[in-house]
Symmetry: none
């Protein structure tokens, strides 16, 4: 049975509030064999106090040994099996720049490229043309007109931009046109199923017009299309959990991921303190709040151990303001680990903390990688965290009589 069949059938409504604080890339590694992790090195009096009051565990984002991207990492936390629900590359790229995909849309990642006189690719990234030059060129492609299809073109960065087709009967199963090599011409878009034939035709016409528009560009005189993807069909928080859910994030990617599961994106916060202000301002209007903190991940990606420690302490310092609102369930977790040692997302389980008045606390009085593995939540797949959140909030009834 799908977990959402359960959560749908067992929904209980009450006035409880659930706050999920996601410190992106929270888990880490020591830099030396005998060292501490970032979280262990950080001074985190609030997390430790919450650890004493609550229960902790080690969240496995996907499966043991799998390092997830932000998409599957967050889907797991939101309670959507990240192996069952997949967000195509184009849809994730559009989501990441804040484009609001609608059902039926097809999103495509595009790269400017350079063609020679024979139409063969000489540079698959058009010399990594700077964003300030490439953005106006991408915008010039908004001239393209195709009958029956609404077209969106959004610059991203350097040679990258996103195209979205909106219309009837557009499937997302179309092959990349990037041949992954130079000295050969780009490929034609080819549908992999009947439902995507129209998409392939539209893409072909788009490319035909784009070639005309771009023909005088010195570097970006054409573009490839990759990662065709329809909007993923994810059931909403409202439907599967009965929750009015709000997302408070700074970066477009996380706002976009939250929108995909039907959360309202609230506020315009640019700092963690502003995120908390938005939380306070919207407290009465929602049952569930997802608060995303980016910098534990970005400092980890940079390999900057000390900066990650500092950002962890910043995150810790804000927690009393969240506690003061009196949520029935407060969760602190991450979508994956990002050890500064590896400078990348990793597969290691993520320290995860849950505090409620009925959470059966464990003996731990600190919160870290080494304590969470023997915490009361054990090691568990992230997709189960929402079930724990709902039960601790009294929002899920008994299964079976």
């Amino acid at each position: 049975m799908d977990m959402h069949e359960l959560t749908r059938s067992l929904q209980v409504k009450n006035g409880s509030k659930i706050v999920m604080m996601v410190a992106d890339g929270l888990g880490g590694l020591p830099m030396t064999a005998t060292g501490k992790t970032e979280l262990e090195a950080a001074n985190t009096p609030n997390l430790d106090r919450l650890a004493a009051a609550g229960v902790q565990g080690a969240s496995i984002p996907v499966k043991p040994g799998i390092a997830p991207g932000s998409g599957p990492g967050h889907l797991g936390l939101f309670g959507y099996d990240p192996l069952q629900y997949q967000i195509g590359r184009g849809a994730l790229e559009a989501t990441g720049i804040g484009f609001e995909l609608q059902p039926g849309d097809v999103a495509i990642r595009c790269n400017f490229c350079t063609l020679d006189g024979d139409g063969k690719i000489t540079d698959r990234r058009a010399g990594r043309i700077p964003t300030e030059e490439s953005a106006p060129i991408a915008i010039s492609l908004r001239q393209v007109r195709i009958d029956g299809v609404e077209i969106f073109v959004e610059p991203v960065k350097e040679h990258r931009f996103v195209v979205v087709f909106r219309g009837e009967g557009l499937g997302g199963e179309v092959n990349d046109t990037d041949p992954q090599a130079t000295g050969v011409p780009p490929l034609d878009p080819v549908a992999r199923d009947a439902a995507s034939e129209r998409t392939a035709e539209v893409a072909k016409e788009f490319l035909r017009q784009a070639k005309q528009i771009l023909k005088d560009q010195p570097q970006a005189n054409f573009h490839t299309m990759r990662g065709f993807a329809a909007k993923p069909d994810l059931p909403t928080y409202k439907e599967v959990y009965g929750l009015r859910a709000a997302a408070i994030a700074v970066y477009p990617m996380y706002k976009g991921l939250a929108r995909l599961v039907g959360m309202d994106v609230v506020g315009e916060a640019q700092t963690l303190q502003e995120q908390i202000d938005v939380l306070q301002a919207n407290w009465d209007d929602y049952d569930f709040f997802f608060i995303h903190f980016k910098y534990t991940d970005s400092t980890g990606e940079d390999g900057n151990f000390d900066a990650k420690v500092q950002r962890t302490e910043d995150f810790d310092a804000i927690l009393p303001q969240v506690e003061a609102l009196g949520p029935e369930v407060l969760i602190v977790t991450g979508d994956h680990s990002t050890p500064a040692f590896l400078k990348s997302h990793s597969w290691h389980p993520v320290p995860t903390l849950l505090v409620s008045d009925c959470c059966r606390h464990d003996p731990h009085t600190t919160f870290s990688e080494s304590t969470c593995i023997t915490g009361g939540l054990g090691q568990f797949e992230a997709k189960y965290l929402m079930l724990l959140a709902l039960s601790n909030a009294g929002r899920m009834g008994k299964y079976g009589a």
Copy 2:
């Protein structure tokens, strides 16, 4: 999604080496309520040192409470879901005696039996005729000739031998001819699907000729056929993991299991020291090494606690030679537990140790049944061990963006 779809799509190639040391039947039990297990009683300074440097956990071979045979035990360690992939009895028997099955082969376990004058079975095992008598009788069946089919007959032990049919269009779905009773004649081979009709015909003809050849034998004057099985269709290590894999084992069964997943069987080692010599000699030619140590299992099966302790110490003593080669990932595990107390394979989780420079070590400084349950790897299904090995070796990319 199948785990191998993931590992295929996320493969990263690098120069790292992974060594998986399998001490067969590694986990144990105390002989008395207050006693130690074999592993706890053994003096294992090297395992303890590795425990301090690495991370441990408890590997569940199949599912909690399931005691596996060698086949599913090893398939799990190799990363093949042992409930999804099954090795038919005939194929396992052939594999166990070192017969190299080819795609399309059908292997059959045969038992000599005794028929009375009316063709009814009086002894289903032909008096458990000793191997030195039965082997030549089995070999006499190599006279059987059937058009279009290559036939192999291999003695096993006592009344048991293996027959393999090799040819076109031979399915593996044929019923046993052993009626599981005396006083009745053997059954005819009957196909369970259309693709196996030819196999049933070939088996019938084999039995007809065998009856002639055996008719003057006093005990083994006929035989039954059981466990018809095609070569299992397992994807290879090369394909699913991108690994050049070598197996270094003494016993035919484990060489055979390794061959089924596409490992090269290297060397002719007869002792653990010789296995390490083979490892050293082949170090540059492979990415992954499976080293199988039998005696922690066989002493457990014998119920000989002290001998299992001794064999565990022998295993421990060899580890520095493996470490000296500098593998990026070193794993010590077992395919299942074989407690001397039970004299059999058991369902208990298997102490499992992983050492790499990014394994997030846990606080343990010894390696045992009692420490592994609170180790950093938690309790996990054996089929995930290869994912952890690949990630720790830097050989698996991120899932999703």
